[in-house]
């Protein structure tokens, strides 16, 4: 039996690893997006007492290797009496980590947001939260679309680190097969194929979303 045939017989294992990776990725990146939006909103009001610690938190996260954050949540939190299982630690770490990156992407775009539009909103009686949700955030998302697309791919790749904290995802499946049958090259080639395929699909989708913005003059396609 060739190595490829072995892998074909183990296809269920790959498939469930793949589904697990996609679930983790989907949950984590959705949560990260929400975290990014919330952080941006909290940074909006120029209250330094809140803004300074938030900036420190965001920068602290961004400067941390992801793997260490995942370790901390999984192995470190129990010593504070908080015990998360591997899945929740993994999703939580991804969400917070990439949420901070997304917040930073948003913040950069917010700095160049035309102040005249804010004044127009104030003059029309908008309060801060409505203005943020309806006028600022949609434009910032359109403006930062290419960077968000990039972040999606980083987040997808970071899911592979979760094998270290025993999450049963795609890389873990390849790892276990390559260990059992000693066929590391082929096992990991299959996994690379999966990651590439998902990344390419995301690239295409994100690019398509660009049309939405470019019709409105956000032509950073």
């Amino acid at each position: 039996m060739s190595n490829w045939q072995i892998l074909w017989q183990a296809r269920d294992q790959f498939w469930s690893g793949f589904l697990s990776t996609m679930t983790i990725f989907g949950c984590a990146i959705s949560a990260a997006f929400v975290i990014g939006c919330v952080l941006l909103y909290l940074l909006e009001g120029s209250r330094p007492r809140l803004a300074v610690p938030l900036r420190v938190f965001i920068d602290g996260m961004r400067m941390l290797p992801f793997l260490i954050l995942a370790y901390l949540l999984y192995y470190g939190l129990p010593s504070f009496g908080i015990r998360l299982d591997a899945w929740w630690s993994g999703v939580g770490a991804l969400a917070v980590y990439h949420g901070c990156y997304i917040a930073e992407i948003f913040r950069g775009s917010r700095l160049t947001f035309p102040p005249g539009q804010i004044e127009a909103a104030q003059a029309h009686g908008f309060t801060r939260s409505k203005m943020f949700l309806r006028l600022i955030l949609p434009q910032i998302v359109m403006q930062t679309r290419p960077l968000l697309g990039n972040q999606l791919i980083y987040a997808l790749k970071d899911t592979a680190f979760l094998v270290i904290i025993t999450v049963q995802e795609l890389t873990a499946a390849a790892n276990s097969l390559s260990g059992t049958y000693f066929i590391p090259t082929e096992a990991f080639i299959v996994v690379i194929g999966f990651y590439w395929a998902v990344s390419i699909v995301m690239e295409v989708i994100v690019k398509q979303c660009g049309r939405f913005g470019s019709r409105r003059g956000f032509d950073n396609v």
Partner: protein, 274 residues
């Protein structure tokens, strides 16, 4: 608070009061003893101004004289240090006890004014129709259908109904400004504030915007207009105000102002702008 958005029959009578409506006694805008500084430089000094309902007041003055600042104080985009401003009898910015208004209350009073900016400031992610309906729906809480019907009427009024599905980036400056006017009108404001509405426009587009504003004045809208267009000011105003270094140094009906200015300063200004 059911009357949060609808003050004193504003919704019941969507059209502005006709000009010369003599039984109306509350001024649309009443400014008393207004002073404003930027970093120790007094930009407005003890300004007093009454704008009657249905009146058009144009504010003239050289660059840096404080025209924009005065206009922006009226809807509290700038906070003056001293003085009071009332919009149709309601104080803006401060409560009666002299403390700053709550954010919500301020937004509600602001919504009783409409502002048109030199640089249009349309919201680029919304099409023309939605630029006009955005605030009526999400600030005033109007039902979408009603807001859209009203927006179409207003776009028609400013000659932009054929572009209701277009996005702002596809419009000319004059078209953007006409949409911005419709957007402000949609709030059914007590007063419309214009800050040099044609200064960012190519000369051939100025006329279409001034034409719209003239039509509004004929309909009896109350307006305060900062402008450098002398002929327009003369044609449209009930009152002309001349600002110089933050002081109102002359205030008169257009006939008097443009033909018999009292001060030498205004004479020189008018000569330069002939």
């Amino acid at each position: 608070m059911s009357d949060l958005h609808a003050t004193a029959g504003r919704q019941a009578t969507p059209e502005p009061p006709a000009a010369g409506n003599s039984h109306v006694t509350t001024a649309a805008v009443s400014i008393r003893n207004l002073s404003k500084s930027f970093d120790d430089v007094e930009v407005l000094r003890d300004v007093n101004l009454e704008v009657k309902q249905g009146d058009v007041v144009t504010i003239l003055g050289s660059s840096g004289s404080g025209k924009s600042t005065l206009l922006r104080c009226i809807n509290w985009l700038e906070q003056p240090e001293r003085g009071t401003i009332h919009i149709a009898g309601e104080r803006i910015g401060m409560n009666a006890d002299g403390r700053p208004m709550s954010v919500k209350a301020l937004a509600r009073v602001r919504a009783r004014t409409g502002m048109v900016f030199q640089s249009f400031n349309l919201w680029p992610h919304l099409n023309v129709l939605h630029n006009v309906t955005e605030a009526p729906i999400h600030v005033l809480g109007q039902p979408r259908q009603e807001a859209e019907a009203r927006a179409r009427e207003l776009l028609d009024k400013v000659g932009m109904s054929h572009k209701q599905d277009a996005y702002p980036n596809t419009l000319s400056g004059g078209q953007k400004q006409r949409v911005a006017i419709a957007r402000a009108l949609a709030m059914q404001p007590e007063v419309m504030l214009f800050d040099e509405p044609t200064s960012a426009l190519d000369p051939e587009l100025v006329g279409e915007v001034l034409g719209v504003i003239k039509a509004l004045s004929a309909e009896g809208y109350t307006m305060v207009i900062v402008t450098h267009e002398m002929a327009f000011s003369r044609a449209v105003s009930d009152q002309v105000v001349f600002l110089e270094k933050g002081l109102i140094i002359e205030q008169a009906d257009p006939e008097t102002f443009f033909t018999r200015p009292r001060t030498e300063r205004v004479q020189r200004f008018l000569e330069r702008h002939q």
